[in-house]
């Protein structure tokens, strides 16, 4: 982003990579797949790079409002200085926080989840989504809580998957009734409370019931939880967990 500023240019959109997308080895693959798609659609985008910092979502959900607002105010200072208008992110937690919780603190941007943004590129004819190697595969989509229930985005990821000419199968609990993967509310960063099962196992069982070839996700944390769930069920050889962006990019061998 700093380079754009130095050249006096403004990007079409800021890609908010997020902590998982920047540091987590699995999520980095999603970041790269999404970037490939942005390039192929000739989207003029920028990233904040080392100037990006955690949105504060896990701190806020853990109850540390103070830390959240410190993070938020700092990020807003940076984005406002760059006169950012539009943000896209591949993480529903960043998406929810940037979209809903930053405006009151002075950060008003048009915020899109990457599946919404890809859908808009598709609608504008800038991005071609074709079945390629996933044609006919059984895919089930796990709704991330912070994309679905939290913000009522259910159709964009499904529309993209349908374009891949896959056989989209729904789990018995989907859309607004979707079950959490177990990572939200800062659970990702702690051991679960004592119980008789982990939430991600319960959710993986929902997914396995649909006998999928691929479990599609739209969130790096859901991705981790579902991948762990599939490994726990020793199905990792037959079932892949992939982000919607990865599916589209891989279908075209980008």
């Amino acid at each position: 982003m700093a380079e754009y500023m130095a050249e006096g240019k403004k990007p079409e959109v800021l890609f908010w990579v997020g902590c998982a997308g920047s540091f987590d080895d699995r999520a980095k693959k999603i970041t790269k797949a999404f970037v490939k798609l942005l390039h192929s659609a000739n989207v003029d985008f920028a990233v904040l790079g080392t100037e990006e910092s955690c949105t504060g979502d896990p701190a806020k959900r853990a109850g540390n409002e103070f830390l959240f607002q410190m993070q938020a105010v700092t990020n807003i200072e940076v984005m406002n200085a760059y006169e950012i208008k539009k943000v896209v992110t591949a993480c529903p937690h960043c998406f929810n926080t940037l979209k809903n919780e930053y405006p009151v603190l002075g950060g008003d941007y048009e915020v899109m989840h990457h599946t919404q943004f890809l859908k808009s590129l598709l609608d504008e004819g800038r991005l071609a989504v074709e079945g390629g190697k996933f044609k006919g595969k059984r895919i089930t989509f796990h709704d991330p809580c912070y994309l679905g229930r939290a913000n009522n985005v259910y159709e964009a990821p499904r529309d993209l998957l349908k374009k891949l000419e896959v056989e989209l199968v729904e789990m018995k609990r989907c859309k607004r009734d979707g079950l959490c993967c177990g990572a939200g509310g800062a659970q990702m960063f702690k051991e679960p409370e004592p119980g008789n099962k982990d939430v991600n196992i319960e959710r993986t069982e929902d997914a396995l019931e649909t006998k999928p070839d691929i479990i599609a996700a739209g969130c790096p944390f859901c991705n981790t939880m579902m991948t762990d769930g599939v490994k726990n069920k020793e199905k990792e050889d037959s079932i892949e967990v992939m982000d919607v962006a990865e599916l589209i990019a891989n279908a075209q061998d980008l």
Binding site: V17, C19, S22, F23, K28, K32, V35, G49, T50, E52, S53, C54, G56, P58, A59, R61, A62, G63, N64, E65, F66, L67, Q69, M70, Q71, V73, N96, K99, N100, E101, V104, C145, R149, A150, N151, N152, R176, D177, L179, C180, G182, A183, G184, G185, A186, Q187, M188, F189, K190, E191, P192, E193, P194, G195, N196, K197, V199, I201, E202, R203
Partner: protein, 439 residues
């Protein structure tokens, strides 16, 4: 002498409504113990939401069996209340079936009340079976008072509907016998089948049955009205304000604490003098607590939520933490909040103002283990048929644990210090943030 029933009726009516009013004022006072939150905006949108969710029962019918049965009882309750209006007028003025001059419309009214009464009876019996016979987890987990409370309400309904139909059946016999005072009016699609039970009875015993059923019915309604305050059943009234004042924001959005914003702004302001003496009003103002440890730290909408909850348990049955055996139950969060609020209210009634009883909502009712099990997935909020948010209470109590007591689980403390130190929940170097682009 002939006015004695009328006077008696007025006394019963005034006493019944008076005691109810007194208790409802307590409920309102208790709700007002909550912190202020502005919900006076967007009146149109709020009204629409109330019309859809409370009046239209749109979220109830998402579970079709319970939803449709509830819809019948709800409609029965509202429509049969027109009959209660007639009973009250008759009772005060000593008339009988004062609306009878409406003619065929009256026939239609009484006829539909009877059919509804029968449907309500059937629904309530199915409800009882669901609660006590069929193995439904969200009802099975209720023990003690909450379980009895749920059943008592159902018994009330059965008794009231039976009395209503008995009254009509006896009335029909009296009408056919041409008894004085009993004008021929109304249609009796249901009680005509009860009526043969009274065949051959004398006018005076029929009169006794009709009057007894009439009196017990109206007294029953007044007792039911007054029972509401002591039960979980206030939702029949509070569902309306609760959906009206409910949160309109996207479910994922949590409020930003203003007290914290002020602190953060002060820290970020280069011209702020860190050593300045606080201004006089600031020094006098009570320091605010961050988050909630007791009911008075919650806002009034959260307290209204607690009184509105009717313990149906849809929230808990959808909760991922609960389904996987964790201690958290969103329904319990709401029940605990109301129990504690009642306790605080009783304390105020007894002592004039609140005297510290050494108890708090946190720890004495809700344990940190429950709070930390939440994934903030909003399934409970989505499931609630009357716009209650257990999540907002959970988050406020986590805020207290973290910001007032620094009592977060160690893993979360590590996560938070990572964010503070290197801007990510994991211990990675901020300078490595762009490394993915070269890998």
């Amino acid at each position: 002498m002939q006015y004695i029933p009328n006077i008696l009726f007025v006394i019963v009516l005034v006493a019944g409504i008076g005691y109810f009013t007194k208790n409802i004022r307590k409920v309102i006072r208790n709700i007002r113990l909550g912190q202020d939150v502005d919900r006076s905006d967007k009146k149109g949108e709020r009204f629409k939401k109330m019309a859809m969710i409370a009046m239209g029962q749109s979220k109830m019918v998402r579970r079709p069996i319970a939803g449709i049965l509830h819809l019948i009882v709800y409609l029965g309750f509202i429509i049969i209340n027109i009959e209660v209006l007639e009973i009250i007028i008759d009772g005060i003025f000593g008339t009988h079936r004062v609306f009878a001059p409406l003619g065929s419309f009256y026939d239609f009214l009484i006829g539909s009340f009877e059919i509804l009464a029968l449907l309500v009876l059937v629904s309530v019996i199915i409800f009882w079976i669901r609660r006590n016979v069929i193995n439904i987890k969200r009802f099975k987990t209720l023990k003690g008072w909450p379980k009895n409370d749920g059943n008592i309400i159902l018994y009330f309904e059965v008794v009231l509907m039976t009395l209503f139909l008995t009254m009509n059946a006896a009335d029909l016999q009296l009408q056919e016998l041409g008894a004085a005072h009993y004008i021929k009016a109304g249609s009796y699609p249901v009680s005509q089948f009860i009526s043969p039970l009274f065949d051959g009875m004398s006018q005076s015993s029929l009169f006794l049955i009709e009057r007894t059923a009439w009196w017990l019915h109206i007294i029953g309604i007044l007792v039911f009205l007054n029972y509401l305050y002591f039960s979980k059943h206030l939702h029949i009234m509070l569902a309306f304000p609760n959906t009206y004042y409910g949160d309109l924001k996207p479910q994922g959005e949590l409020d930003n604490l203003e007290a914290v914003t002020n602190e953060v702004k002060l820290m970020m302001d280069p011209s702020a003098d860190p050593f300045a003496a606080p201004s006089e009003d600031a020094a006098e103002a009570e320091p605010s607590t961050f988050g909630a440890s007791d009911v008075t730290d919650l806002n009034w909408v959260q307290l209204l939520n607690a009184y509105t909850c009717t313990e149906c348990g849809r929230c808990t049955s959808e909760c991922p933490a609960n389904q996987t055996g964790k201690k958290l139950s969103p329904r319990k969060i709401m029940m605990d909040t109301r129990d504690r609020l009642k306790e605080v209210g009783d304390n105020i009634d007894k002592n004039g103002s609140f005297v510290d009883d050494g108890k708090k909502l946190l720890n004495d009712y809700i344990t940190p283990e429950e709070l930390w099990a939440c994934t903030s997935c909003n399934a409970c909020v989505e499931a609630c048929p009357v716009s209650i948010s257990p999540l907002s209470i959970i988050i406020d109590m986590r805020r207290y644990l973290v910001m007032e007591e620094s009592a977060a689980p160690t893993d979360l403390n590590n996560m938070m210090s990572n964010i503070e130190n290197n801007g990510a929940p994991w211990p990675f170097n901020q300078m490595d943030r762009l490394n993915w682009s070269d890998e």
